[in-house]
Each structure stands twice: as structure tokens, then as C-alpha cells.
Symmetry: C2
Subunit: 232 residues, 2 copies
DNA sequence: TTGACTTTTATGTGTATACATAACAGCATA
DNA sequence: TATGCTGTTATGTATACACATAAAAGTCAA
């Protein structure tokens, strides 16, 4: 109970983490209140509060008013994936990035796409883009764009800048969802990616919105060998 | 420039976000300093600071001392994946969870495993577990455990509790890394998962450590159809 | 022009204080 | 017994203030 001075929220957080990792505070156990910890560490409650808040943000502890703070009973690992624009993904891996738009048409979208965008049946811009690293296929992108939510997209030239990057720069989004899975390459995708039909693909599906308004939904097909990494 | 009173950091953050999304502040542009914003919003600098800090944490803005705060020039989407223990993954999807340990032996690990664990060649515990949902294969897990870092693992019975869950409960970890990719099922995995050899699999590779000490590394093979979802 | 200083500035962080609010416990009343 | 009204308590948040610190900009002498 040695009261130290000038504890930073970082050192407090580190000590709290140590106690959790050492098993001193086990999953499910309630930990002392902010006031008590502040007294023990010889710092203000504000500092302890910030440390605990950050631990709660990262899912290590749970906090509830009046109840107190406890170590999360059944730990759920969280991995934060950073998903840059494709060009950056390629150049970060040391490749030379190019792209080519395979298909660009305005047509009535299939029901599955309207469902993904939560839109009534209507005309959407359908774009298919092949992204290349050092002239070799890197990823195939199949995208549908809600034209009315992306003004200018019909007139945009996607020669020097890919649809991916154009949208990121021109049409900000506020939220969306993303999912990852594996699938087999069908004939057309296999041909574009220059792999055998049936080969495993890493599939990323993504839909973005700007305050309720659906903007775009897309599937990105990465050939075998592609990895998405993160730390825990 | 109407100075409002009692702005919460949340409302300040919402307004800052609105300006970014509306294009009022474009990617790469510097935004006013904390003092100026505090004056505009009629709140203290502390409140603006917190709002900006949270935006920085979520990757919306970049902050540097003296330089100021600016909207991230090339936005990087971040997806936070929550990775629960397998049993929860199965029950959350409405399945009845069971598991069966296929292999359990102590042997000298292959070089690739030692490399993943950053350990010199030594004896490790090799565990293979099949996880089932409603008696049908859900995921196959191939795991190596650093016995000296997981006391008691040699004596643990993995009948009622899977190695996955045993380790999570008994051996806390402080950090690790995880990667996601797609691969084709080889003969033995295909047989266990009751799918055709060559079928696409969703592969999660994970290594955990406790303060530098490697604990375990594993590969988890999910058959086609499995999805990992998150919001942006 | 260069390099070693000082100043300025915006963010980073800690403290003391105050009040808000959710949730629980206990008591009182119908 | 059910219901409503207290407190009480722990976290949540806003404020004013102070000082730390990184980095840019300016100053000045060799």
C-alpha cells in the first residue's frame, strides 16, 4: 500500500494489467473501486478512471455503474484489422500497383445485392476491377454502387484511379460492415486471377453507408497465399 | 460561432465527425486547435481533447504535438474482430457443442512450429482437436503448446473441457498475433471435416505469449460457409 | 550558411473539484 | 405482497488549472 506519486495512467494501466495477467485478479472477479485504487497508487481518481476506461475499451474489463469493475469473465480476444486501400496494400508488400476495370455498366441489380444494400430494386452501377501487383493478378473486386449516393461516379474515369480509391476519396462513409470467409473460385474469377477453377479464395465482403444511406457493396477475391494479419 | 454550453465530449465528437463526413474538413486538412474548438463549442479544452483523442484512437484523425490535428489523408478502415472461445462460437450460432481430441502427444516439434513460437528446438505438446456443432464437424484445430509455459497442461483431462478453453482459463496471455487466410483441405483434414480434399478452408493462425514467453500456436481450419463478421 | 540557442505553440497529461446518473438496498406505505 | 420512495454508492463526465513535451520557427553568432 505504498502511496507513490505522479502515477501516469499508463503505468496504472500496466499495473492493473499485470494483476490480471498474474491471476491476482481472476476472470469474473470484481476489482477495487476507483477511489480505493487512486489512494493505493497515490494518484487522482481521474487517472485511475482513464486507465480503467481504456481497459474497458479494449475488452479486458467490464464496468457498470454502482456494480463496479470486473475482469471480463469469459475473455473474448479482439483483433483489430487494418484495411487500407488496395493500392497501399500492394505497395506495402513491395509490388507495383496497376488496375484494370473489367466491367462497367448500369443495370438492375439482382435481389441479393439489393438486400445487401437494403435498397428497393433499382438501377445500380456495376463495376468489376482487377487489381494487379507487378502485372500479376492480386485481387478481383466485384462492386455495386448506389449511384444516387455517390454523385459524380457516373462521370468518373477509373483509368488512373481505381473505383476503390475514387470512392474512398470522394464519398466518405460513416459506417459499414465487413465479413471474411473462404470460397472456391468459379470459372470466370479463376480465369481473371489466372488460377485453377475451384482453387481456394479469401473472400472479403464489405458494405458501406453514410448515415443510413447505402453507398456501395463489394466482394473482394484474393487468391491463395494472401494473408490478413493483426496482433492481439 | 455561437458558444453553446455543456457540450459533452460525445456531442463534440459527433459534430467533428459530421464536419469530416460532410466534406467540410477534407482528408489531409488540418482542423482548428483544441483551444479554438473549445471556444467555438463553449466547452473546456479537456472535453475537446477527449473527443479528438477518441477520433485519433479510431483512426479518423492524426495528431502530432505542435503540428496539430488533421483528418487522416488516406483513410484506413479498421475492423475489430471479436474472437470468442470455440464453444461460444458454436452455441451463439445455435448449435450444440462437443469436441473430441484426435491426437495428444509430446514430441519434438518441426522447425516451422519452433519458428512460429520463436523457441529453440524442444519437446512440445501436440494437440489435435475436432470441434463439432450438433455432432457435425465445425472446425479442426491443430495446436502446439509450450509445456513449460503452461503448468498442469500435461495432467489436464481434455474430455469435458477442450484444450482451447482449458488454456484460456488456466494460462492467461498478454499478447499474440493472428492471421487469416484461405487454403485447400489436405486429405487428412478433409476426412476429419467430412468434406472433399481440395475444398476451400478458412484458416486462422494464432500464436499467444505471456510477456515474451511463447505459450501456444495453433491453426484453426473452418470449412466453407464459415464467416467472420464485424462492423466498420 | 551553418549550427547552437531560445521561443513559441499545440498537444499530452495530471490534479482537485463538482455534479450527473444508473443501480442497488432498505424502508415505508397502500 | 406489491409498490413506491428514499438513500447510498461507483462509475461517468465536465471544468479550471498547471505543467510536460515535441516540434517548428525564429535568433544570433562564428
Amino acid at each position: 500500500m505504498t502511496a507513490r506519486q505522479n502515477q501516469s495512467h499508463q503505468s496504472v494501466q500496466a499495473e492493473l494489467l499485470r494483476r490480471i495477467h498474474s491471476g491476482e485478479w481472476t476472470p469474473g472477479a470484481f476489482i477495487p473501486g476507483e477511489v480505493e485504487l487512486a489512494a493505493e497508487f497515490g494518484c487522482s481518481r481521474t487517472t485511475v478512471n482513464r486507465a480503467l476506461r481504456q481497459l474497458a475499451d479494449s475488452g479486458i474489463v467490464e464496468r457498470k455503474r454502482k456494480r463496479g469493475t470486473r475482469v471480463v469473465p469469459m475473455p473474448i480476444a479482439r483483433a483489430t484489422l487494418e484495411i487500407p486501400i488496395i493500392r497501399k496494400e500492394v505497395t506495402d508488400r513491395g509490388g507495383h500497383y496497376t488496375h484494370s476495370v473489367i466491367k462497367r455498366e448500369i443495370r438492375t441489380a439482382p435481389a441479393s445485392i439489393n438486400a445487401r444494400l437494403q435498397l428497393p430494386a433499382q438501377e445500380l452501377l456495376h463495376l468489376q476491377t482487377l487489381h494487379l501487383s507487378d502485372s500479376r493478378p492480386f485481387m478481383f473486386e466485384d462492386r455495386w454502387v448506389n449511384v444516387s449516393a455517390a454523385p459524380g461516379v457516373e462521370d468518373a474515369s477509373f483509368e488512373s484511379i481505381s473505383p476503390n480509391e475514387w470512392l474512398v476519396q470522394e464519398v466518405p462513409y460513416s459506417d459499414g460492415d465487413i465479413s471474411f470467409s473462404a470460397c472456391a473460385a468459379d470459372d470466370s474469377v479463376a480465369e481473371l486471377l489466372e488460377i485453377r477453377a475451384g482453387s481456394p479464395l479469401f473472400l472479403v465482403e464489405r458494405t458501406t453507408r453514410l448515415y443510413q444511406t447505402p453507398i456501395t457493396t463489394l466482394k473482394m477475391y484474393y487468391p491463395e497465399g494472401f494473408r490478413m494479419s493483426s496482433s492481439l
